[in-house]
Structures are given as C-alpha cells and as structure tokens.
Amino acid sequence: MIPLSQLKFGENACIESIEIDKIPLKLIEMGCLPGNFITIIQKAPFDDPLYLKVDETHLAIRKETAKFIFVKLIK
C-alpha cells in the first residue's frame, strides 16, 4: 500500500483507505472512496497537482491531499 502521491503516471490502483480528517468531504463525494479504481492521467510540473481519474470522474487535486489517500497497485 502506497500513498497516491507516489503512484506513477499510467499505473492503475485501487483505493485502500483514506485519512478522513485530511480529505475534504467534496473529494469523497466525487468518488474518492475505498474500493474505487484510480489512475493518474497526468502530472503537472513538479508532480503537482495530479490529474486523476477516480471511478468515472476526472479531477485534479494537490499532492498534499494525495498524501492522505492510500492505494494498492493493480498489476
């Protein structure tokens, strides 16, 4: 299990857990929930912010938030 911020471009992963006090409710409602699939579509320079696809939603979050989402790689 690794924090989302360490996930590499193009890797597929599944959300294992989230640190709920650090994650805005809005992000949870947009689909950042344990069990959902997540991929990194693009990283801005300095790897921040991250452009993700979570479930069916395309969104961008900052690295500081991505540190509190933990994912498991899917081979």
Binding site: I20, I28, E29, M30, A44, A60, T65
Partner: protein, 696 residues
Amino acid sequence: MSKSLNIALLGNPNTGKTSLFNSLTGLSQKVGNYPGVTVEKKEGVCKLDRTTKGYFIDLPGTYSINSSSIDESIVVELLLNKNNKDYPDLALVIADVENLKRNLLLFTQIKDLGIPTILVINMADQMKRKGISLDIPILEQMLETKIALVSTRENTGLDELKKLILNYRIISNKPLVQINSIDKKYFENLENAFPGQLLYKLWLIITQDANFGAIQRTLISDISKFQTKSKSEIKRLQQKETIKRYQFINSVLKKGLQIDKASATDFRSKLDRVLIHKFWGYLIFFSILMIIFQSIFSWSEVPMDFIDNCFNYLSSVTSNNLPSGVFTDLLSQGIIPGLGGIVIFIPQIAFLFLFLSILEETGYMSRVVFLMDRGLRRFGLSGKSIIPLISGTACAIPAIMSTRNIESWKERLITILVTPFTTCSARLPVYAILIALVIPDGYFLGFSYKGLMLMFLYLIGFLMALGIAWILTTTLSIHSKSYFVIELPNYKIPLIKNVALTVWEKTKSFVEGAGKIILAISILLWILASYGPGENFNQAENIIQKKYPELAEKEIELKTNSFKLENSYVGVLGRSIEPIITPLGYDWKIGIAIITSFAAREVFVGTLATIYSVQNDDNDTIKNKMASEIRKDGKLLFNLASGTSLMIFYAFAMQCMSTLAVVKKETNSWKWPLGQLFFMTILAYFISFLTYQILS
C-alpha cells in the same frame, strides 16, 4: 384559472443545467463550462400547458447538498426552508449521461428531503457514440421517480419533460436511503427528540454550516444539543452516508446501465495529452493569450475607425442643422462626443467576451486551472485564481464574484485584492487611444509595436497582481484550511447560441452601465466647461483681443476658446490639482479626466472628448484632437513619456467605484476595499512618476 408550479433546477456543474434552463424559459443567460459559473439566482417562466405556468429557479451547480462554498449553501438553504416563497413544488436533477453514478448522489440527497424529484438525463445524443444504454423502466422503478431523456444540444425531449412536470404528483416522496442506518442509536435519540420531523432534514441542519435563520428558530436551538459529536465524528458519519448512497446507486446502475467500452472513443485523453502537457500545455496557453490580444487590437481597428467617423459626422450634422443655442451645443459638444467615447470600444469588448466565453464553453479553462495551480500557489494564490485573473480582463466585478469557489479563505481574499490589477475592458479605451497616439508604427518579429505595447500592459498588470499577492501572502496572517479539488470536464464544441448570447449580453450591459455614467458626466462636464466664474471667463474675447491685436480672426477665436476653457469652472478645478500631476507629465485637462474616470475608467476618453469639443468645435476625431494638443512649453501634450506614464497610471490605479462596492460585499468589510483604493492609488502615482521622469 391558471396554476403555477415552483420548480428548482439542480445538478452537478457541467451537466448542461443552464442550457436546459435557457431552452425551457427562453431567458438568455450565461452558460459556462467552468464549474460554478452560475452564481446568482436565476429565475425564468415557462408555460407548461394552457393553464399551468412553471416558475424555474436555476440553482448553483453542486456535486452534493453538503455545501463547501457560499454558492452551494444557497441550495441547502432553499430546500430546507418550506417558508421560503421559492420553496419548490418539485425538483429537477439534471445528470450527464456519462457521469450518471456521480450525478445520482445529488439525486438521492434531494429525493431524501421529501421533495418530488424528476431525473433529467442530459446529453442523450452522446449515448450511442459512447456505447451507453439505459433501461429506463428499471431505473424509474428502482429510483422511484420519472426520468426524462433530453439533449440540450439538439433540443430534444423537452415536451416529454414538460408532461412529466405536470404529472409530478405521481412521484413518490419516500426516501431512497435510510439515513438512520449509518448510526442507529444517534438517530434514535434524534427521532425521539423531534418526533415527526424528517431525519435527513435534521441531519443536514446539524451538519451544514449554512444560514438557516429563516427555519423555525426553536428547532435550531434544540438541535444544537445534538452537535455534541466532534467534527471528525460527524465527518466519519458523512463518509459512511456517502458510501451507503453509492452502494445503493451501484446496485441500481448494475441493473439499469450498460456501457460498451469498445465503442467508446476517447477524444478527451488525446486532447489532454497535448493541452496539459508539461511543456506544450504552457506554450499553447500563452500562444492562445497572445493571439487573443493581437486580434483584439487588429481586428477591431476598422470598425473602431468607422464608429469614430460616424460620431463626428453626427456631431457636425447636429450642430449644422439644429437651431444654434445651448441645447444644440450640449448635444453636439457634450453628449454625442461623450457617448462616442464609449460606443467606439464595442468591437474590442465584444471580441474579448467572445474569446473568454469560447475558452469557458470548451472546457479549456479548467485545464488552465490545472496548469497554473502550482505556479500560482507560490504567490499565495490558487490555480482557481487564474479564472478571476483571466476573466478580470473583461471586468473585475464578475471576476471577483467568481472567486467564490476557491476553497481557502486566504487564497480567496488575496485573489480578490489583486484581481483589479488585471487589465479590464474599461482600461482598453484608455490604452487604445493612447497607444494609437504615442506608440510609433513598426513591426518587431511580425508583431506591431502597438500590439506589443498592449500586451506589455496586460503583462505588467498580471505581474503586479502576482507581486502584490506574494507580499500579501507573506504579511497577512490568516490561517485557513487549504485544499484544492477541481473537476476536469469533457471537452465540448461551444454552442454558437450560448457564445452569441454571452457576447451580446455582456457587451450590452457594459455599454448600458458605462453609457449611463458617461451620459451624466458628459452633461455635467459640458456645463462646467461652458460656464465660468469671474471676469476672465466672461470678458475672454476682449482680453485676448487686447493681448494679441495682430492675430487673424480665426486664431483669435481659437485662443479665446482655450482661454475661456482655462477659466471655466472645470478649468479652475483642474488647475487647482495641476501641481500634483505635473510631475507625471499631465496637464489639468488630463487631471479632470482622471478625476471623472474614478467613477469608471472608460470615462477618461469621453471626458477628454467633451473638453476638447468645447474648446475647439471643428468636428475632428477624438484622436486627432488629442494629437494636436500642445503643452505650455510648445511640445506635444501626448508624447511617449506622458502617454506611457498615463497608461501606467491606469494600469495600477483603483479607478472603479463598482469594484470597490463588490469587494466590500464579498469581504464583508470596508477595510479591504479602502485599503485597496489607498494603496493602489499611491502605487500608481509613484510608478507613473518614475516612468515619466525616466522617459522624458
């Protein structure tokens, strides 16, 4: 007897909610692709059948009823307050067929409030291309609602939707998700304390930080006892609630939705690969900006010259054909040149709004937010600040209102404070005429000097905004939670109707708003310039004749006119402030224009037009009149040094009352707008002073 229904339109951003609202009510309104464009309350009427009228309210786009911004809290405030006159008889939740799962979250929340809710699935025309098929009867049965399939792009499904609205009473208002299942004991206590109340409603009152002042006060004070749970515990329950809702939605979609991935074409990822590329993304963005500014300047040259000539013609026709007198003078020297000074900038402003609305409509703006976040954060701003900074090139007022979806208060406040530095369309008239006067013709690498100067002015405005933001972020000690979430919507080809409506509406309101101020100021100025106190004004002709007895009649007349103007009320006023502005390279006439344009910057040109018309009634263009102004020392008044210094002054000074008013409203304090006014004026004065001293 005619009946009426209150209908609330709800939905995630980028679902075409506002397009649907436009199609239903025919009211023109801005439709953008950037999440959160709809910030004001929008209402419209639609005849549903011969006897029933539908009153539609277009509520701000939101992903959930749990609000995270002021705009979103409008939704929960309205839906929980049955006493509100706008409380809906029924709600329409608009969903994008491609994002059904996430859109249904909001649907289940609204339905659980006991409001009859119709699900409107938009972009039905995309289904085939994306390989999506829906089992409507199954979905209707499981979601206990009625579903309308519409396409706002192709205008289909609206009649069926109207029929569903008229039959809204058959829709069950039973909740879909049992809220008490997330914490049995807690909700049991709540139910005992407030028998007969809807549990989900109570839960929202407990969890939402919204203004429920209008709801029964006793309920609120009693309910505060149930806020004993810590914030963290409440959030955990909210997460649990969200999971429950998604479990329900997944079970519904498993039966009612099929996606054939093979037939889906992925246009967005191909475009994204280029448009938000680490290198190409930025290059494309800056090229787009460059093209926009170049074309604003070059495309509008022909129509602007045309308008200028038209107004001069109008002025001369009026003064030649109407019986001479005070009224004719007022019309031909005051009102017509004053209005001409604003109408002339319609082409530029229309082009600017055209480009901005295309950027928004296509979904490109959100990509720019993504590209700019990291860079802007260094200056204490958010990636979302790029929207106000760019749309501030049209007008600071909507730009400052669009800061509402910046999550961190500190980032938002700083954005509000620096947005007036971006070059708004009201500065364009000032820049355009000064550039035409003082910047030489010629080309550098294929770009005209004039176009480059305009770009430079936009650039220094933007750089000043960044610099001041950086100073503010290091000096202001405000602690606020900072996070950043933005949806990157699908790319869309802009609807011509939407773009045209935006350009038309924005340009119209600009001309109307500025027109009123300019009309009033033109009249006032003309009066102040045509009358004066004391001997010098009334005996002007005699004084000049005595002073220059050898001059021809025409020369005498010119000298008399300018001597009169100098001694008119406006001249006396202007000359009293002359010592302050002489170091910047301005004369008292420019001083008057600076004072009057405090109301709004674009008044500057109209003011000079009026002053010069009073002085010299030979119906030349504004530009030529300005070009022939001579200073006391015999040099041209508008030269490179004074012209540039003046442009710099307008780049940095806070010359807009409406912006101050909106900053007061958004920050809820006079401290910030007054600070802005004071600081920006001093800054503008100081830098203009340096500019003039160095260049002259």
